[in-house]
Symmetry: C2
Subunit: 184 residues, 2 copies
């Protein structure tokens, strides 16, 4: 690894644990992301100075994360690997997977718990807190589902708009109030 690449790979390694992966997974991802050519398991092990079996396990996990994909190199029997190279795609995959692991289970738990009838006043208070949390998560989840499928160009427009979104929403509300021809 060149020093240039190494700086980056070591950093994503350090961050890996904060992103729900771990150090090795982060390093592997980072390395594959900045490598022009797909790499095979031995090359990864070599570049990161980790064991071949660690790479095998790491690839297995990264497959589950949909962060790596196989690539074939002509005339070579070994499997080669790479990540999506489009940051938007990478970001989308990461967001979806994190949502699946970090949010979905909680949503399920909240739905189930909210079915139970609270008895004591304390439980009724707790239920109210759960209800509000459920509402927020459901709102965000639905929004993400809808947003994910928009073309990146639309998302960039939204991002660049920033807080000016408020003007747009205000304007929309005004026109919907004064006029029946809505786009809803």
């Amino acid at each position: 690894m060149s020093p240039y690449v190494e700086t980056f790979v070591m950093h994503v390694g350090e961050m890996g644990s904060r992103w729900g992966l771990n150090r090795t997974l982060g390093q592997m991802c980072g390395l594959l992301y900045v490598s022009q050519q797909p790499l095979n398991a031995d090359e990864i092990a070599d570049a990161l100075s980790i064991s071949r079996s660690n790479v095998s396990m790491g690839l297995k996990e990264l497959k589950a994360w949909r962060l790596v994909r196989p690539a074939t190199v002509a005339g070579d029997r070994r499997e080669y690997w790479t990540t999506p190279k489009d940051v938007w795609e990478l970001f989308q995959v990461l967001t979806e997977e994190r949502h699946r692991r970090e949010v979905q289970p909680t949503l399920t738990m909240l739905r189930e718990t909210l079915m139970i009838e609270p008895i004591t006043p304390d439980d009724r208070y707790a239920q109210e807190r759960l209800r509000e949390m459920h509402e927020l998560i459901e709102l965000m989840t639905n929004w993400m589902d809808e947003i994910q499928n928009l073309p990146p160009r639309t998302l960039v427009r939204l991002l660049k708009l920033g807080r000016r979104i408020q003007n747009l929403l205000d304007k929309r509300r005004k026109s919907r109030n004064s006029n029946q021809s809505t786009d809803l």
Copy 2:
């Protein structure tokens, strides 16, 4: 803890590690969130069956996360604790803190690395990947900064709009193209 509360607290404990906290921190947060009254350290230790010193360490970390705040109970010398009870506020704090821990360091590293002149073709390719990643993160960061300060009601409107945001953006672009009176 009542079984009702316990279900919830144990769940957020399990999820804690996926949210950048850990099991105990998650449990403490969950417990305080659904408790009508603030709790003191002994009550927390008791409810979660963990040691008093563990609670002390946990509170220290949760303070750093801005997820707990002190509350005074009249006629009691001990410190009492609670979380913000508004899910929107809770969500905002969690998002800000996670951003600070999970994204800011990477942004700094990318900025620094992008200052270095790549020599080899491989390094130039790597730099291009870093540049794209930097652009995306910066865009998202700026957006979040702007969005965070909007009133929750505006955010709810945006969330409920979902993918229909595209219509709105299209309409805006059209009017800006055909007409100089923009709100930009």
